[in-house]
């Protein structure tokens, strides 16, 4: 079956062990997690996971439903790249003397919209944010200077949708609490 790179976003309570609960759902179906980023979301007390994985649509739907079933998960979604604005950050550590020997460094930094974060006699740290192809492109161009270290963050993403599903969900749940749901 055709596989697409999906971005899964998960909103959860901030609890110990949630990452394991989510990752075992991928493991069970042998889905490799390509990238992962976890941090506090804009909503206080709510954590956000952004996970990318190659999958077919059918599997993706099932995986997201099984993630959402976990008690401490508030909401889970899956997106294709055209439904989100996404970004990654990359850092490159390059030998300073090699850079100084080359006159095209300014042009390179400008063209890639990169930044220089740190310079010392030994190395220079360059930062670039962008899509993986873009950060990869800079890596390749820097390679002629010899890249000592190259790291890429996990993806972060924001939906293009105009509806904020998580906020709506939390409001609805607040309503349930006030109605004193019991069984």
């Amino acid at each position: 079956m055709d596989k697409t790179l999906y971005t899964v976003t998960v909103y959860s309570e901030n609890q110990v062990g949630l990452l394991n609960q989510i990752s075992i759902i991928f493991t069970r179906r042998r889905l490799n997690i390509e990238s992962l980023s976890v941090s506090a979301s804009a909503i206080e007390g709510v954590h956000k996971f952004t996970i990318t994985t190659w999958s077919d649509l059918d599997t993706m739907i099932k995986v997201v439903k099984q993630i959402e079933k976990k008690i401490d998960v508030l909401k889970a979604f899956y997106y294709t790249d055209d439904e989100i604005v996404y970004q990654e950050v990359a850092l490159y550590k390059v030998a300073t003397d090699k850079l100084l020997d080359d006159s095209s460094i300014e042009e390179l930094v400008r063209r890639h919209n990169a930044r220089i974060l740190e310079v010392n006699r030994t190395y220079t740290v360059i930062e670039k944010s962008g899509h993986p192809e873009e950060t990869q492109q800079l890596f390749e161009e820097l390679s002629k200077y010899g890249v000592m270290q190259f790291v890429r963050s996990g993806r972060v993403a924001i939906t293009k949708s105009t509806v904020e599903h998580v906020s709506i969900f939390l409001e609805e749940q607040e309503g349930r609490r006030n109605n004193g749901e019991s069984r």
């Binding site: 309570e13 062990g17 075992i24 439903k65 008690i71 998960v73 349930r176 004193g180 069984r183």
Partner: protein, 569 residues
């Protein structure tokens, strides 16, 4: 006024009392000793059943929960005890049985140090529980227990594990118990979507050949009456899953029997003839569906379930109705038209007659030869006026039990469906009897499975648990032997068994028993067993090469049914 301070252990016991727990199945050990010490003071309010192996505690709690509808409670220590509960917890997860399992844990300061009897219980149990949580402070106990019971019993029920550090048991806390009825991230009873109900009603009303699959969800949501009202109003024949079996009386004219690999011919054949297939509280397990590519492709499928992740998981649906079955069926019934599908329902008779002629009559009324397993089951069932609780182990005893035991009331079958756990039967029967003391509990078990948890005979002895154990003894691992005969060229690899004298073994536990070798002894032995006050072991020497038929081979089409070794339907 300052609140009274009590120990974490006492907070745990008082929390259990607040949840109306009357029975705990457990086994003491180092990391849970403070709780057991406290239990000593509460003996008059909580009954503790000392099992002989922690796996037995979980299965007993499952049996208790399944017959009573209560949450089964298990209390064990850390390390090996915690790993011994995994089978029962996994079984409860896949069969949606509400359990709260409390495991002791080493003191917080020792966590992560490979301390004596330390194991990562939360890490191990996360994949097989509805929720798993470690308690490190006495102050957290009441809240965690409240949450555990709420999660275990609501929505689609399941097992919860609480891993209780020893210092939390010993620490002091101001106890205040508040029942949990809300968790922000958890919606146990989703709101019913009227549009989906309407769509379901339209499809059912337009159906010429509707067929309903009844699963355990009907029992779990107490929707037996609603289901009956629905199928009687719309005149819909019903096939039951293994766990759904007793939700509808066996002899109800619309109950067409069991689905699946060893189910009745009619329900399987008609699955691929119906025009609308209505699934209620079932999950299209592969033992029910066989090959999905050939399963009910002609039918429009309506799926009622409380778990959204079940929709379209195995079978694609036309309409999926999310919600508690009692609520969704109640909303559906007024929209259904009164119908008669006489010709369609009568068409099941062809399948029934052939199955009776080729399979059932031979199993129930053999003229001579060794005792058949099916005839033992039916005789026991009838001798209880079909009012007993059936508990089975796994294998041929389970399939014969399910096929030939008859049910007249709900919550009358306790069996390991999804996980297929050999050794489930004996401890589950103990829990079933304790959970429903007024009912007769009949366990059908094979010689293999009985020996997997036979240590629990000690529980029967110690607490005088009145369980009727019917051992269908063929000195073989019968179901595996059957597959070896059918699919592995009769190479009986490691299936014959040299067995002990089971009646003598039972006698050593003070349990009365009797060997039955000939058909003429059977009725009298069954009568003796049922009239005996207390546990009884009936060791029945059955046909060594008995086979469960009909059989749809694994992974093949539901209509590809073997009636015997040589003949297909």
């Amino acid at each position: 006024m300052a609140k009274e301070k009590i120990s974490g252990s006492e907070a745990l016991i008082r929390s259990l009392l607040a949840e109306n727990v009357k029975t705990i199945y457990g086994y003491p050990g180092g990391a849970i000793m403070p709780v057991f010490d406290c239990l000593y003071d509460y003996k008059d309010r909580i009954r503790h059943i000392l099992v002989r192996h922690e796996q037995g505690a979980t299965h007993a709690a499952q049996g208790h929960a399944r017959v009573s509808g209560e949450v089964g409670v298990v209390l064990v220590t850390s390390g090996p005890a915690a790993t011994n509960i995994i089978t029962g917890v996994t079984d409860a997860m896949i069969d949606s049985t509400p359990l709260v399992v409390i495991t002791g844990q080493v003191s917080s300061s020792l966590l992560g140090t490979d301390a004596f009897q330390e194991t990562d219980v939360v890490g191990i149990t996360q994949p097989v529980t509805k929720w798993s949580y470690q308690i490190r402070h006495a102050d957290d106990i009441a809240g965690a227990v409240a949450r555990a019971f709420y999660i275990a019993r609501t929505g689609r029920p399941g097992p919860v594990v609480l891993d209780l550090a020893k210092d939390a048991q010993q620490g002091m806390t101001e106890f205040e118990y508040k029942e949990c009825n809300y968790i922000r991230s958890y919606i146990p009873y989703p709101e019913i979507n009227d549009e989906e109900i309407k769509k379901a009603a339209e499809l059912i009303n337009a159906a010429q050949k509707p067929f309903l699959l009844l699963g355990q969800g009907v029992v779990l949501s107490h929707a037996e009456q609603e289901l009956m009202e629905m199928v009687e109003k719309a005149d819909i024949p019903v096939g039951c899953t293994l766990l759904g079996l007793s939700a509808m009386p066996t002899d109800h004219p619309l109950n067409k029997g069991m689905l699946g690999m060893h189910g009745n011919v009619g329900p399987n054949i008609k699955t691929n003839e119906c025009d609308v297939l209505i699934a209620v509280g079932m999950r299209f397990d592969d033992r029910v569906t066989g090959d999905l590519n050939t399963y009910a492709r002609q039918a429009k499928v309506i799926h009622f379930d409380i778990d959204a992740s079940e929709f379209d998981k195995n079978v694609k649906t036309e309409v999926s109705v999310l919600g508690d079955a009692k609520a969704t069926l109640s909303s559906l019934i007024p929209l259904l038209e009164k119908k008669k599908h006489t010709a369609w329902i009568e068409s099941f008779a062809v399948c029934e007659e052939k199955e009776y002629d080729k399979v059932i009559s031979k199993e129930l009324f053999p003229a001579d030869g060794p005792i058949q397993m099916g005839e033992v089951v039916r005789k026991v069932s009838e001798a209880t006026a079909n009012k007993a609780i059936l508990v089975t182990d796994v294998g041929q005893n389970q399939m014969f039990g399910a096929r030939y035991f008859k049910f007249t009331q709900t919550r009358s079958i306790v069996t390991s469906g999804g996980l297929g756990t050999m050794g489930f039967g004996l401890p589950a029967a103990i829990g079933a009897k304790i959970g429903a003391p007024e009912r007769t509990v009949c366990l059908f078990v094979g010689d293999g499975g009985l020996q997997m948890t036979i240590e629990e005979l000690g529980v029967i002895m110690q607490y005088g648990v009145d369980v009727k154990i019917i051992l269908l003894n063929n000195n073989f691992l019968g179901m595996v032997r059957q597959w070896q005969q059918l699919f592995f060229h009769e190479r009986y690899s490691e299936t014959p068994m040299l067995n002990p004298d089971f009646v003598a073994l039972a006698a050593s536990y003070g349990i009365k028993g009797r060997d039955v070798e000939r058909r003429e002894q059977l009725d009298d032995a069954i009568a003796e067993m049922l009239s005996h006050k207390g546990a009884y072991l009936l060791n029945v020497a059955v046909e060594e090469k008995g086979m469960v038929f009909p059989m749809t081979p694994a992974g093949s089409c539901v209509t590809n049914i073997m009636l015997n070794v040589n003949e297909k339907y």
